[in-house]
């Protein structure tokens, strides 16, 4: 019994590194945090930047788009979140989200879809101007990366 248990522990100890090597390596993890300068993105424009190998949308929303997002009652949402929860106070015009559809990871197309936000061409999910899922197979809103504003024009993601 004891011999078997010791053997099992040994086998597991050997197996774990063999599996763990599949996890993201140090060079991948090193890209965990980036800084991005927001000057030059005009109102109504959006850019896509790369963070940890993932595309990230940075959208400079117009007041009309913010208004549109805030006017939606929470009851209409599949994954209820207010617009305030999805942006940072004082920087409401900036919407920063990971650009992979929460269904199966495609990159949605900006400024399109039934809710003026994003439309995913793969399986037809529609997101609104706050990046919230409104229609289609995706279960969640577009994911927000951890970020904070270093200054009004500089944002640190990660």
């Amino acid at each position: 019994m004891a011999t078997g248990a010791v053997g099992a522990v040994g086998a597991a100890a050997v197996a774990w590194p063999l599996i763990n090597q599949l996890n993201p390596d140090a060079s991948t993890l090193a890209l965990a945090s980036i800084e991005f300068n927001l000057t030059g993105i005009e109102e109504g424009q959006a850019v896509t930047i790369m963070w940890r190998g993932l595309p990230v949308f940075v959208r400079h929303r117009t007041p009309a788009e913010i208004e549109e997002a805030r006017a939606v009652p929470l009851a209409d949402l599949k994954d209820p979140e207010t617009d305030e929860q999805r942006t940072q106070e004082g920087h409401e015009q900036w919407l920063i989200m990971i650009a992979n559809c929460t269904h199966l990871g495609c990159v949605p197309v900006g400024q399109s879809g039934d809710f003026d936000g994003w439309f995913c061409p793969c399986h037809g999910s529609h997101y609104d101007t706050a990046g919230r899922i409104r229609k289609g197979p995706a279960p969640k809103n577009l994911v927000l990366p951890p970020y904070n504003f270093v200054s009004d024009t500089l944002v640190q993601i990660g």
Binding site: L22, A99, C122, G124
Partner: protein, 416 residues
């Protein structure tokens, strides 16, 4: 089917070898003398065709690996290098790529034959289950191989398919990162897919050996589904079936060659000639045709079921559509093996085949309008066939009388 060996070592060398490692005896018993029902039709040749296809894929694959570079910066161009610069590279590459499609074509026919003639029933359950495992491994291998050219379709196929695992509650995301080796599909993903794409075919080859072993214990099923009664029912495998299989293989090679030499890209997608770009998803991403039925099932579940959200639901049905195959020997309660003698079953069976093709069609169609509804209906029938038709149909069905032996059925057919 354990027959006494007829092998008599002729020379001293043969005798010496036979006492130490009886490979010649083994080959003679299993590849030449093996008693095989004499009434097998051409659907039975697809086993041999598949064995050859596996060899073709392994040989061409090993050659391609000699020239391919698994690195995201170089993979796309290295495949073009094979097509342009390597001697005969265009044809070897096309053979491998078209070969994957031909492999699946043969695989689906082989499986369709099995379902119709009830080859999965006792005493061939293990044989059948090994076959399903081979099918699953071949799908995994084909998927990973498709990622290697690192075109747009490669990249987005990898993204979408690995994302399926993220639907699993709690452990989904750690598994996703473990599979990709990063937060997105990237160089580590390509490298490990290459490694596994090279490995898995040999695992498949080992399973094929078990598959044939398991076949040679009870022997072949046959179109009547009636067990072999006497040696009058069988012929030796060689030369009867070696020649028949060889003929079928060469006929099968004709459309294969047609694709390779005249339309090597028609089974693929133009977008895969655009190098992978993680920031832009092509307007229509569609998997290779052989995954379409299962892809349609994945997409068909776009509603929540109780506490299970639509995405997890899709994944459960997707996985279920394959896992259910493992239980077919126990789901089917009919005492009669062959569909030939089951008047009602035939209808459900052909409806299942049409339904499967419809699923494939829907997998390629855009997810909108009538297609969404049809996808749900066809997904329903796919499961209905396995979960309701197979277990309960025998209660209502009166099978036609079975022939007492293979020989009788053969002679009976000869009469006007």
């Amino acid at each position: 089917m354990s027959e006494h060996s007829t092998y008599q070592p002729g020379t001293g060398v043969e005798k010496w070898l036979d006492e130490r490692l009886p490979v010649v005896r083994f080959a003679k018993e299993h590849l030449m003398d093996f008693p095989t029902p004499k009434n097998l039709n051409y659907f039975w040749t697809f086993g041999a065709i598949l064995a050859i296809m596996l060899v073709v894929q392994i040989v061409t694959g090993i050659i391609l690996a000699m020239h391919y570079t698994p690195n995201i910066a170089m993979a796309f161009n290295s495949v073009e290098h094979i097509r342009r610069d390597v001697n005969g590279g265009r044809i070897i590459q096309a053979t491998h790529a078209v070969g994957a499609s031909m492999f699946f074509a043969a695989l689906y026919i082989h499986m369709g034959r099995n379902l119709y003639f009830g080859s999965y029933k006792a005493p061939r359950e293990i044989l059948y289950i090994i076959g399903v495992l081979i099918f699953i491994l071949v799908m995994a291998t084909a998927f990973m191989g498709y990622v290697l050219p690192w075109g747009q379709m490669s990249f987005w196929a990898a993204t979408v398919i690995t994302n399926i695992f993220a639907a699993i509650p709690v452990v989904g995301n750690p598994i996703l990162e473990l599979l990709r080796g990063g937060f997105a599909v990237d160089n580590p993903t390509l490298n490990r897919f290459f490694s596994l794409h090279y490995l898995l075919p040999f695992v498949v080859a080992a399973l094929v050996a078990l598959h044939i072993w398991a076949l040679h214990v009870p022997g072949n099923n046959n179109p009547t589904g009636v067990d072999v009664k006497s040696s009058r029912d069988t012929v030796p495998f060689h030369p009867y079936y070696t020649m028949k299989d060889l003929f079928a293989i060469v006929v099968f090679a004709i459309p294969f060659a047609w694709f390779v030499f005249f339309i090597p890209d028609i089974l693929g997608h133009p977008d895969n000639y655009v190098m992978a770009n993680s920031q832009v998803t092509p307007a229509h991403i569609v998997p290779e045709w052989y995954f379409l039925p299962f892809y349609a099932i994945l997409r068909a579940i776009d509603f929540n079921i109780l506490f299970i959200d639509s995405r997890l639901g899709g994944v459960i049905f997707f996985a279920g559509s394959i896992v259910i195959l493992l239980f077919v020997p126990w789901l089917d309660r009919s005492p009669v093996r062959s569909g030939t003698f089951r008047p009602l079953f035939k209808w459900f069976y052909w409806l299942f085949i049409i339904n499967f093709l419809a699923l494939a069609y829907l997998g390629a169609a855009p997810a909108e309008g009538i297609y969404v509804v049809l996808a749900k209906i066809t997904t329903f029938y796919y499961f209905f066939y396995f979960l309701v038709v197979l277990p309960f149909l025998p209660m209502f069905e009166k099978p036609r009388p079975l022939p007492t032996s293979i020989s009788e059925s053969v002679l009976g057919k000869a009469l006007p």
